[in-house]
Amino acid sequence: MEVPRYWRNRNQRYALVGEVCPHCEVKIFPPRDVCPACGQDAKTKFSFSGRGEVYSYTTISDAPAGYEENAPYTVALVKLEEGPVVTAQLTDLGQEPVSIGMPVEMVTRRIRQDGGKEGILVYGYKFRPVMAVAR
């Protein structure tokens, strides 16, 4: 993949920065500048809490090029507490089995590596189980 593309989406990827619609209050991720609920302009930045729950999950064993170092890894649809759903890897799973409805929180981790040892490293959001103490 290309450098401009990594750079363009860096804010969303590092910090879950989306938008809030000034007209109907709907929270939007990823940012699209037009509210999918009411169709009006929505360019007000909004930082998501990073908390949510697992809506569904699966495991990728046959990883695409650039993703091999973490394979096999778990990918989930995470429903954020503010409403939107995101696709993300789960991490720091330890012995805990993943389940639908499991509370998770965002962390920043290395996502992929392009072109071997000298290649581009891409960091972005993943989600980990919420620790019992933190709940």
Partner: protein, 386 residues
Amino acid sequence: MLEDVVIAGIGQIQVGEHWETSLRSHAARAILAARSEVPSLQPDMLVIGNMLGSTISHQANLGALVADWANLSGVDAPTVEASGASGGAALRLGVMAVSSRQADVVVVLGVEKITDSVQTGQDRALTQMMDTDYEAMPGLTPSGQAGLVMNRYMAQYQVPAGAFAGFAVNAHANGAHNPNAMFRKPITRQRYDEAEVVAPPVNQMDVAPAADGAAAVILTRREWLPADYAMPVVRVAASNLVTDSLALHDRSDPMLFQAARLSSERAFRQAGISPAEVDLFELDDAYSIYAALQLEAAGFAAAGQGWLLAQDGSIIPRGRVPICTLGGSKARGNPIGAVGVYQAVEAVLQLRGKAGGSQVPEARVAMLQNWGGPASTVATHILMRE
């Protein structure tokens, strides 16, 4: 009105891994086969459904290339891309051209040449059918996407393990009767149960294998059929295409598959029929979970119950709603952007009574549904024998 659009001729090559032959030769062979059924009709347009020519074969501008190699130079020849639904979308454009009288005789070709690359290149190319920035970036794959859908579906509707085996068993039983299928042997339930897990709960027997293929149909208006046309006349009674959010996560309810519902409903309305009048349903079984979802979206089963039709014999050729009657993508093979045209060719064989060992008795009405991704793009057609 679509009432005078007919499919006058059909052609196909066997689906498989054809390392030794090229996209252009596959395309030409399918077109020549279709044209040989109605040699007096001179096409004035060629519509090509294809997803991966630009990435896997590094070949764009397919219209000019294929028209030349099929001895059709000079015709109007656009290419339509809608990932796995490219074939259905091409058929839709062909129907529009004929019914609006922008063209009189249209060749609709679905072609995919996946073996111009090795496995990793194929996987990377197919990943483009998802949202590259927000689905592929976190490491999701098309099989993983089906895994997310199937896992949620099974939890939400309390579906037992192994519930989808009947889809693979039916597809392979039917593919055994199709000389153009990639796999021509029945499989047992045990084979399904022992299959390697791909993206849980999706296993290898839930996945239709990507392969090379080319299929073509000749569309025209009834008035253009030659006087000595001896085959049953197959009319296009419905044609539409509906889109949804590309990414699963961008849908207000990721389990709704709204585009499949709308496309099915529109097709029934266009054809003026109810689901009960459909004699066979060539649905898009890229993954077995998607087959269950299409049965539900089209109204053959309630939400959460599509898998039951694979358990009680409903989907076999003599059942209530036969599906994948010549193997579907599971056994015929999955030539991605050509699937929608293979569906049309297979439905026409059924409606002509030429489907051999998996013939649906007295088939008169066939419904076709072609999905790009998890119902991100859905093309539905209904064909009727006069």
